[in-house]
């Protein structure tokens, strides 16, 4: 899977309240959640983001609550992938489970706001087309790639059940 888009930079410890404030958790609709994505820390984010763009974060991206509304909001506002130095564990598994692609890279400080990135989820290669640089990351373990390839956890479970029948 190859994703190409503009980078939107965020810092360390971006938490799930930053990504989607609890007051919007009365909805499960990705589009509606997406219209409030990052509102508390970057009020214009949902307006300026273009379909296909990429969020670039620092350490511990997605820390805090278990709300799956956080990766849903990111997907819902049009962002196609997240690159960060590290991810909080529940955000990590929620993203896998709903099929939001992401990569862990220590090079995020070298990426500038607005850089055009091309990321290959299967190989783990990130190309910074603006700076003509390539960053290598470790691709997902096979078990997780299988879930993502099936289009999320529920599809994976259904596929597994079919194999058993």
């Amino acid at each position: 899977m190859i994703i190409k888009g503009k980078a939107h930079k965020f810092g360390d410890d971006i938490n799930t309240d930053d990504i989607i404030s609890a007051k919007y958790l009365v909805s499960t609709d990705a589009k509606e959640l997406g219209s409030h994505c990052m509102e508390s820390i970057s009020p214009d984010f949902a307006k300026k983001v273009q379909p296909g763009d990429i969020i670039v974060g620092g350490e511990n991206f997605g820390c805090g609550s278990s709300r799956e509304h956080a990766p849903l909001a990111i997907k819902g506002c049009g962002v196609r992938a997240v690159v960060a130095k590290s991810f909080a564990a529940i955000f990590f598994r929620n993203s896998i489970n709903i099929g939001l692609p992401f990569l862990e890279s220590q090079e995020t400080d070298n990426i500038n706001e607005g850089d055009t990135l091309e990321i290959n989820i299967s190989s783990g290669i990130i190309k910074n087309l603006t700076q003509d640089k390539t960053y290598k990351t470790a691709p997902f373990p096979k078990f997780l790639q299988d879930i993502v390839e099936d289009g999320g956890l529920m599809n994976y479970i259904k596929a597994k059940e079919r194999k058993h029948v």
């Binding site: 007051k23 709300r67 799956e68 956890l153 529920m154």
Partner: protein, 418 residues
């Protein structure tokens, strides 16, 4: 090579002969919890995928507690999804308001979480039950939907990190201070993807309620679990239930990625400053911080021990004029005990409000939201930007004694000063 308690519990819930940190496993869960925010997505995903019957109606728990009693029409609809699903699936562990409580105080109280269990909950503070010597961890809604199907969860086995607390606790210092101190030391990602194990002589003499406060905030250091080996105190707590659970202990040759040893004899009450739980200072460093609101409650500190401490300080006193004091007992049982013991009266006579069990203002839901510029001290677990209301408000976190003392003076205050 031996196993840690976390590894032993995980292994016991698989068909495997052995496990090691970093490995992906599929484990069988003893309990799958969801609330009014996370369960609606799980139920929707479960149904959308074409499934009709949960794997075991006795192992599914539904607690409408975040926006319940329903704060508005949309929350009411979310709560109703839980009620309908419980009825349709004959789930007896559905807790309607009236028997509801903040989930992580309620489940241990009714004996649903026991030593040795593997518990998943679509709520990050599910790690609370680790205080009983079980492996309990926060997961997402789709994980919950999958568990509804076959009672299983995919997990990466976490490496364990040991925290040893030595010395003697000062007056007014408890589980909340130990965990705030710990998060302050290691940072909000200091235990990222690790199983935290709390041990040492200080933990061995800590009450169950203090242990719950500690394990509750393991997630605030990035931990997957916050486990305390079960002992005589655990045994006394679980002896009231029919099921007793299984008591695991870490092997003497278990492998820990890291071990921290701290002498906490000089520890003062700790306060986390805006906007991260790791931004921790000693209470005396913050004596000029003026407050608009004090909140005592939540899955961290809304238990009877917490409210007794707060009431002892507030009894016969008045809170600072203009300050809002909000006290929220975490469950109906705690509510009733507060009434019986006169704690509710102490809070109300001091000028506070005594609310019905709910997560309420902790996550900025309802029943005490902060306006722009307002400053709160809360016994809750998170102080992120906008957590309790306006993105331009400020939340400090402390134990119930500091919160009560500060309500009286209107600024962050050491309880010794009252």
């Amino acid at each position: 090579m031996g196993y840690t308690i976390a590894e032993k519990i995980l292994l016991a819930h698989t068909q495997l002969k052995g496990i090691k940190p970093g490995e992906f496993i599929e484990a069988r869960v003893d309990l799958a919890l969801g609330n009014d925010i996370t369960a609606p997505i799980a139920i929707e995903e479960f149904k959308k995928a074409g499934f009709t019957k949960v794997f075991d109606k006795n192992k599914v728990v539904l607690v409408p507690d975040h926006f319940a009693p329903a704060k508005d029409l949309r929350s009411a609809n979310q709560c109703k999804i839980l009620a309908n699903f419980a009825k349709e699936q004959s789930i007896k562990n559905y807790f309607e308001i009236g028997c509801m409580g903040v989930e992580h105080a309620l489940l241990p109280e009714v004996g649903l979480t026991l030593p040795g269990d593997l518990i998943i909950g679509a709520d990050s503070h599910t790690c609370t039950y680790g205080a009983l010597g079980c492996y309990s961890t926060g997961i997402g809604s789709t994980d919950l939907a999958r568990a509804y199907v076959d009672g299983k969860i995919w997990l990466k086995v976490p490496a364990s990190v040991k925290f040893v607390y030595k010395g003697k606790l000062n007056k007014w210092v408890g589980g909340k201070d130990l965990i705030l101190y710990t998060i302050g030391k290691v940072g909000v990602d200091g235990a990222l993807y690790k199983a935290m194990e709390f041990t040492g002589p200080v933990i061995r003499s800590l009450s169950m309620d203090d242990r719950f406060s500690m394990s509750n905030m393991a997630i605030e250091a990035g931990g997957r679990a916050g486990i305390i080996e079960p002992d005589a105190i655990t045994n006394k707590f679980v002896s009231q239930f029919k099921r007793k659970g299984k008591f695991y202990k870490s092997d003497s040759d278990a492998v820990y990625e890291k071990t921290y040893v701290w002498d906490i004899s000089k520890l003062e009450p700790q306060v986390a400053c805006p906007h991260l739980p790791s931004n921790v200072k000693e209470v005396s460093e913050l004596k000029d911080t003026k407050l608009d609101q004090v909140v005592i409650g939540s899955c961290t500190n809304g238990r009877l021990t917490d409210l007794r401490i707060a009431a002892k300080i507030l009894k016969g006193k008045k809170i600072k004029s203009g300050l809002k004091l909000i006290v929220i007992p975490a469950t109906q049982k705690i509510y009733l005990d507060c009434v019986k013991e006169g704690l509710a009266e102490a809070f109300v006579r001091a000028g506070g409000v005594f609310e019905t069990p709910s997560c309420g203002p902790c996550l900025g839901g309802h029943m005490g939201i902060l306006a722009e510029g307002e400053v709160a001290l809360a016994t809750t677990n998170r102080n992120f930007i906008g957590r309790m209301g306006s993105p331009k408000s400020f939340v400090y976190l402390s134990n119930p004694a500091v919160a009560a003392a500060s309500a009286i003076t209107g600024k962050i205050t050491h309880p010794d000063k009252i």
